[in-house]
């Protein structure tokens, strides 16, 4: 058995395309999921009984069903209701929805992690909830949100491989396509594993850097 680098070099174009699509899908889904997640978290915390229950049900449903099963549900069931979407669009929707459920829990946990006294001090100063949220709670929860969203981002990158099953032409799909033509699973799976590995490593290094630079007050030492 030998490792044939030529297979990789010959197929670099579809590999690069697939890799770019993987990055693209995640780059779009993560912020969409996060915006939805913030909304869901606020609904669950302050939305009153009806909206809070709805948000909780949405979050629990998505968190307790495997992503692959959700993807199949969307891909095969939506057409039954007359909604024919391309695999790529289904992939975007599935990944964003999935991200939103996890982001909602991250944001909710983050807001709950700030001591109640912070909100009370804001109220006592006459600030409204919107201002308290924007100026007091959110800046403080960055330290909580950043590391957990790194995990979410990495989770999404890895989960996006599942979209290959419904023929979204991302990295894993392209890899299987190449293997189908070249019968060289060892080389191709090795290279895509390395690509995923590199990408997730890059994301976690990047956010660690951000974590340090966005919160100077956490590293400021007491000088007396």
């Amino acid at each position: 058995m030998q490792f044939d680098v030529a297979v990789i070099l010959d197929n670099w174009q579809p590999l690069a395309d697939g890799f770019a699509r993987t990055i693209g899908i995640c780059t779009v889904s993560l912020p969409i999921g996060f915006i939805l997640g913030v909304a869901l978290a606020l609904l669950r915390l302050h939305g009153g009984l009806v909206f809070a229950t709805f948000a909780a049900a949405y979050v629990e449903l998505l968190r307790n069903i495997p992503f692959l099963t959700q993807v199949f549900l969307l891909y095969f069931v939506l057409p039954e209701f007359g909604l024919r979407l391309s695999p790529l669009v289904v992939g975007f929707i599935a990944l964003s929805a999935y991200a939103s459920a996890y982001a909602a829990e991250i944001v909710r946990g983050a807001i709950l992690s700030v001591p109640a006294g912070q909100t009370e001090a804001g109220y006592a100063l006459g600030l409204g909830y919107a201002t308290i949220l924007r100026r007091i709670l959110l800046p403080q929860v960055l330290g909580y949100i950043l590391p957990t969203s790194t995990n979410l981002a990495i989770g999404l990158i890895k989960e996006s491989a599942v979209l290959s099953v419904i023929t979204v032409p991302e990295l894993t799909y392209e890899a299987q396509d190449i293997i189908g033509r070249t019968f060289s699973p060892v080389e191709i799976f090795t290279i895509i594993a390395l690509l995923y590995w590199g990408l997730t490593a890059l994301v976690s290094t990047l956010t660690k850097w951000l974590e340090i630079h966005l919160q100077p007050y956490l590293t400021a030492r007491r000088t007396g």
Binding site: P115, G117, Q118, E120, A121, Y123, A124, L125, G126, L127, G128, T131, R135, I136, P139, Q140, Q215, P216, Y217, A220, R221, R222, T223, G224
Partner: protein
């Protein structure tokens, strides 16, 4: 119960006309589920008056002052601040909170903002004061609580006493008419308590209307017009400090004072 007319501040000029109450609480009741936290509280505080509230933990003293700026919602009775009754109307609540400064046991400074930022955030956002002006105001109050050199530091870089004085300055920046203190020295080391109390005494001497939940009886003796003793959600005894300490009327007050003034 207290006859308010005993107190000279009520009617110093002897005109017989009552000055407007800074805070007027009538028939206040509050429950946490089945737990009766506040029981038929009546309290009238006039402008410039200094009240010290003491009592064992769970007596409802913190809950009482937290009701005044609606950090807690009361269930029965009425609270008026400056003649304006507190209702569920968010505008009314907001307007009342603007008139009341509060100092917490755990300071509750915003850790991600410098001391100066902590002081200007509310004046700028609530009162729409320009930054330069708000900062000037903040620096003057920081000087008054004697920590002008800490303006650019983060709360985490200050000692507990400095943090609490910064919190007092932050509250003062909103130019409140009334200050509430919720056990302001309980989280501090003994040797630091004095610097915070000195700041509070200076504030009292400037004529600020103050309601202080504290067990610092020396402080109560020195500046309080009235000391209120609470137990099990009720006001048990109210008296001028001299009488309160020398001649407590109620058994429970005596027991409490015996425990606290070992």
């Amino acid at each position: 119960m207290t006859n308010l007319d005993e107190f000279p501040r009520e009617d110093e000029a002897g005109t017989g006309i009552k000055p407007p109450a800074a805070v007027e609480i009538i028939g206040l009741n509050k429950w946490y589920g089945a737990y009766h936290a506040l029981h038929d509280i009546d309290l009238r505080v006039v402008t410039g008056e200094r009240i010290v509230i003491c009592g064992p933990s769970g007596s409802g003293k913190s809950t009482l002052i937290r009701c005044i700026n609606r950090l807690e919602r009361h269930d029965q009775g009425s609270i008026s601040v400056g003649g304006l009754e507190l209702t569920d109307d968010p505008k009314r609540v907001q307007a009342t909170r603007r008139e009341i400064g509060m100092v917490f046991q755990n300071f509750n400074l915003f850790p991600h903002m410098t001391i100066l930022e902590n002081c200007v955030v509310a004046p700028m956002s609530v009162k729409k004061i320009a930054r330069a002006q708000a900062e000037e105001l903040a620096r003057s109050f920081l000087a008054r609580v004697r920590i002008p050199e800490q303006a650019k530091k983060y709360p985490g870089q200050l000692s507990g006493g400095q943090q609490q004085r910064a919190a007092i300055a932050r509250a003062l920046c909103m130019s409140p008419r009334i200050m509430l203190f919720d056990e302001p020295t309980s989280a501090l080391d003994p040797e630091i308590i004095k610097e915070v109390l000195d700041t509070m005494i200076a504030l009292a001497n400037d004529g600020m209307t103050m309601l202080c939940v504290t067990h610092e009886m020396g402080f109560a003796r020195q500046i309080a017009d009235r000391v209120i003793f609470m137990d099990h959600g009720r006001i048990v005894e109210t008296a001028a400090p001299a009488n309160f300490f020398a001649n407590p009327q109620q058994v429970r007050t005596r027991q409490f004072l015996n425990q606290i003034l070992r």
